[in-house]
């Protein structure tokens, strides 16, 4: 009985990613997309916080939104899985519910 959480806002501007990660349960999935993909990069002021809070969840980032923003796969933080819209659809189907953090 796991949940897919989605986050679409930049964590540098908005507290939503931090709040989301504070409300996940072990085994949940968190997808970062739209401006949320900035939370998936390494070497930032927030990388450690994201890695720490997201320790027992699976973290994903949406490839098309990374590409739009010029973030290549080499800048993704460890433990982040890159997916496309097919993968997004699969995540929704595989998890029991979706919680969209707006």
């Amino acid at each position: 009985m796991a949940t897919l959480h989605t986050v679409n806002k930049s964590p540098f501007q908005n507290q939503t990613l931090i709040s989301c990660l504070g409300h996940t349960k072990a085994g949940d999935a968190v997808l970062m997309f739209e401006d949320g993909v900035y939370g998936a990069t390494k070497g930032t002021a927030l990388s450690d916080a994201v890695a720490g809070l997201g320790a027992d969840v699976k973290l994903y980032a949406l490839g098309p939104d990374l590409a739009a923003r010029g973030i290549d796969a080499g800048r993704l933080a460890d433990g982040i899985t890159l997916i496309d819209y097919d993968g997004f659809v699969d995540l929704v189907a595989e998890n029991d519910r979706t919680q969209n953090w707006l």
Binding site: T16, G22, H23, K25, R97, N100, W101
Partner: protein, 136 residues
């Protein structure tokens, strides 16, 4: 209206008035009440500001929708989960919120509080126990 009973959670994380999300969320909750589902409403992060008492929108020229929260009990929406940590971070206590009650028909219509203060971990449990989550 429906034979399926699902657990619906409406998640409120935004402050009132600056944007319309709080008000239009409440409109969904009111309409949704007619469908005889198992309804809960969550208030966390800036969403806890929606429930503060003493809101007076006269000088700002806005519509004050906060009295509607007190009518939720009449619509059998009686589970309003409010996160303690969100209150603490914002310098608020339960006393700063409206007193929202419902009449418990299973207990001789005794008046009972609709607001249930929960910890962040308990809020996560509430969220993980739903069928449908609508966020505003």
């Amino acid at each position: 209206m429906s034979e399926i009973i699902k657990k619906f959670l409406y998640v409120n994380r935004k402050a009132p008035y600056g944007t319309i999300y709080a008000q239009e969320s409440l409109e969904v909750v009111l309409i949704g009440a007619a469908f005889d589902q198992d309804v809960s409403v969550a208030f966390l992060d800036d969403g806890v500001f929606q429930l503060t008492k003493g809101q007076d929108t006269t000088a700002a020229g806005l519509k004050n929708f906060s009295p509607t929260f007190r009518a939720l009990g009449d619509y059998e929406v009686t589970k309003l989960y409010v996160e303690q940590e969100s209150l603490d971070e914002r310098g608020l206590t339960l006393d700063d919120l409206q007193d929202i009650q419902y009449e418990d028909e299973d207990d001789d219509y005794a008046e009972k509080p609709s607001i249930i203060v929960v910890s962040r971990a308990e809020m996560a449990d509430v969220m993980a126990d739903q069928d449908v989550i609508l966020s505003f």
